[in-house]
Symmetry: C2
Subunit: 375 residues, 2 copies
């Protein structure tokens, strides 16, 4: 895999391959190199005489994929073998309930930071299982910032503290994560593996695959064994995390194809240089867009407080909805798809996940600057 091709991937005049720059918030763009591997071996997975989607999850082929996906996760995140890595279905939305069902015992409270729609949903589900304390929230300010780690207190006896590290809808992201005073739990769906963090500080991390690491259909859950040991006993089999950790996600049939693509994406990440490599690229990409916004902030109106700006989902408004709608339409015609903001906030949203090439951002920024001149 050549890093050149990754970073220059995008719209092409090759009549055999039409490809747009896809700024969708998720499911999202994936590395073209990964897609090409998947396509090439789709009918005959590495000499097995069948597609990987026809392969038994008990086959040696899938076993190797599963083992490698677990090993790559640990390697890329710098985790030791205290951390279990599992792949389950149901999306992060199911984890909103699954986490408190397992880790919020009677008589305890769970602490949550409310930084947007996904946090709010996680809080709502936790209330089905026990007491919740929202220890910090930016709701009153329309979720335009991330509470700073020094600005709130977590009860020392909380069962856990839950964060949403990146907020796809509101375009905010934790730039530094709190140190653990109680077990840290995070929904990292939308910035997972996009930059370095002290991941070992976390007791549980979950991430829907469909932003940075793969297609929809698998959720990765990472659980440290000391936290796992505190999980409630006696739950229905599929709701007990131990069912999955004990069998390395093979208690029942896992989402084979999604895990296979996740493994390919992690190989791509590793071969290019891992999280420090992608962090530098993502840093550069967000800088290009925010520089444009800051250079003409009367026209390109960023919606969030600068210290809370997301690298993954960059949200902005133009002076009118008519201009926003025109930009989205003209951008689409020029090969930039998926720029419409979430229906709950409107405006423009530029999702710049790992697989979005720098060239895609450069070309979009140029397009937006030209649009501004002609507006």
């Amino acid at each position: 895999m050549a890093s050149e091709s990754t970073l220059t991937d995008g719209p092409t005049t090759d009549t055999n391959r039409h490809r747009v720059f896809n700024f969708s918030p998720g499911p999202a763009t994936l590395p073209l190199e990964v897609l090409e591997i998947a396509k090439n071996e789709f009918l005959d997975y590495r000499g097995s005489g069948m597609s990987i989607i026809e392969s038994s999850h008990r086959s040696k082929e899938y076993d190797a994929i599963n083992e490698e996906a677990i090993a790559l996760t640990r390697e890329l995140l710098g985790l030791d073998d205290r951390f279990h890595v599992i792949f389950v279905g149901g999306g992060a939305s199911t984890q909103f309930a699954h986490v408190p069902m397992s880790f919020l015992p009677e008589g305890k409270i769970a602490a949550y930071v409310d930084t947007g729609s996904w946090s709010a949903k996680a809080i709502k589900e936790a209330k089905h299982f026990g007491s919740v304390e929202v220890v910090a929230s930016s709701k009153e300010s329309d979720y335009t910032f991330i509470p700073q780690p020094g600005d709130f207190t977590v009860p020392s006896d909380a069962a856990y503290l839950h964060l949403t590290t990146n907020n796809t809808i509101f375009g905010t992201q934790w730039q530094s994560l709190p140190k653990p005073t109680v077990p840290l739990v995070a929904d990292m769906s939308s910035d997972f593996m996009s930059r370095r963090h002290p991941f070992s500080d976390f007791s549980l991390i979950y991430a829907g695959a469909q932003k940075n690491i793969g297609p929809a259909g698998a959720t990765m859950v990472i659980i440290r064994d000391d936290f796992l040991a505190t999980a409630k006993e006696g739950l229905p089999t599929m709701f007990d995390y131990r069912t999955h950790t004990n069998k390395k996600s093979l208690y029942n049939t896992p989402p084979v194809f999604a895990v296979y693509i996740i493994k390919l994406v992690m190989e791509w990440l590793k071969e290019h240089g891992g999280l420090s490599w992608i962090e530098a690229i993502n840093q550069r990409k967000q800088q290009l867009v925010y520089d444009l916004i800051d250079s003409d902030s009367d026209f390109f109106r960023g919606t969030v407080r600068p210290d809370s700006r997301s690298w993954m989902n960059i949200t902005l408004r133009l002076p009118s909805e008519e201009l926003e709608s025109r930009l989205i339409t003209e951008a689409k015609a020029a090969g930039f798809a998926g720029l419409k903001g979430h229906r709950s906030v409107g405006g423009i949203r530029i999702s710049a996940y790992n697989a979005m090439p720098t060239a895609g951002i450069e070309q979009l920024v140029r397009f937006m600057a030209d649009f501004r001149k002609s507006a």
Copy 2:
């Protein structure tokens, strides 16, 4: 799509494409025509400039897939619009808990027929939520038969009667299904869409996709609206079936790729003639194998009572484990994969799902007859 190619698909001498006959019990063989379509449009889904696995689940492309998958399900099964069709993650194993969580209220009992490992697991999970009565079981006879509908009684006030229509591990299948006296619920994972039944009799049907209709990662659930109206209220959002029926599986991100393949498989079924077409093929396929077994039953020892024989998973023993092991090894070398019986029962298992071509069965039967002669 030509029906010729479907039925003669299999091992090939074409050096560009190596393909075995895959008798795996699931994930399982899929129609080659479907795999070829998926491969051909994998990098650019119908002119969208992106892979279907990169496409937003809110895109017009995915919306069309989802709508068509729902419509095809109703059409192939002969269901009217009282029936909701949803696609969820977590496998049938999650439904084992999800069904009683929703439909087994306090003070009622749920009736279950125990026909094998999967039934037993469903019963175990139901006990987490309420009272269960096993109204019929073949456990004492090592699950070698299916209780006949006239031979057991269902309490008239049962919340529902739960069946497993086909038992992959033990090789048994309900040849005719009971008429409803209480709401009928069935796990149809391993014979779904393989033959005709009065599907409208069922209040709820669930099926993991990875046998007859697609890859692992999606479970189809069909719920009749009168039964849905009785579902418990106040459950966590993702455990309330209404969350999914109200949004046509788009409340959260669905398993996009799995649903896409399921839709292609159902198009393949419909274009060839639907369930009556595949039923005739499946009838012929199982007949070929059971004829071989019956022609030499001292050597090929069928493990189940003839009236309960599965068309989908044909289980047999040879006179010794050494012979079984030899047959599996030699078959594999000859291009017949996945014939090993489940570890809990041993022996040989021939899974003959919808996408297994008749030619695959014909060639396997010839191979087995030759093996017998040389044994």
